[in-house]
Amino acid sequence: DAGITQSPRHKVTETGTPVTLRCHQTENHRYMYWYRQDPGHGLRLIHYSYGVKDTDKGEVSDGYSVSRSKTEDFLLTLESATSSQTSVYFCAISEQQGIGNTIYFGEGSWLTVV
């Protein structure tokens, strides 16, 4: 198993509150990603990082921000949670880019916004 730990694994929060999900890796991989999984949509990229302090937006980045102050940690923040952000969030890591690149996923964080 890839050394990826997500926390919290489950959370229920109220609309309008900020929420931070944490991803911690022990593989020293350069690239880190946050995806969300929703029925009918598969896995969609929220934000990704290609190094410490280097991040960029994915296809569903609105309402989310990220930070990466250390190689091993990648934080996803929902600035003001909405019901549409109820989802399963997966952190992923990879060592390289391009052909041969394999992304490894964490076990997921289940978030419910009520």
Partner: protein, 113 residues
């Protein structure tokens, strides 16, 4: 605009038979494809991949076929086992070389004993 599509949300096969999962893509610049398997309450796990210089890659019971002219790939599982019951995601590596993967919607495979 869905660049990677899995048009069959579900598939049911009998144990021992072949399972064929299909995936279509629209971007001709995609040159590396992967299949992931996901059990409930777990993260997706890498299954098998193929680069565009090949048309077939095999790993045990799993074979992926790539038809570049049709922009189509398929995953064959032979023989299918009940433990193969899971959601299967097709993914393409973003050609911008950011390491990003673009996923299809997933196909739920049920293998009946």
């Amino acid at each position: 605009d869905q660049q990677v599509k899995q048009n069959s949300p579900s598939l049911s096969v009998q144990e021992g038979r072949i399972s064929i999962l299909n995936c279509d893509y629209t971007n001709s610049m995609f040159d590396y494809f992967l299949w992931y398997k996901k059990y409930p309450a777990e993260g997706p796990t890498f299954l098998i991949s193929i680069s565009s210089i090949k048309d077939k890659n095999e790993d045990g019971r799993f074979t992926v076929f790539l038809n570049k002219s049709a922009k189509h790939l398929s995953l064959h599982i032979v023989p299918s086992q009940p433990g193969d019951s899971a959601v299967y995601f097709c993914a393409a590596s973003d050609p911008s070389n950011t390491g990003k993967l673009i996923f299809g919607q997933g196909t739920t495979l049920q293998v009946k004993p």
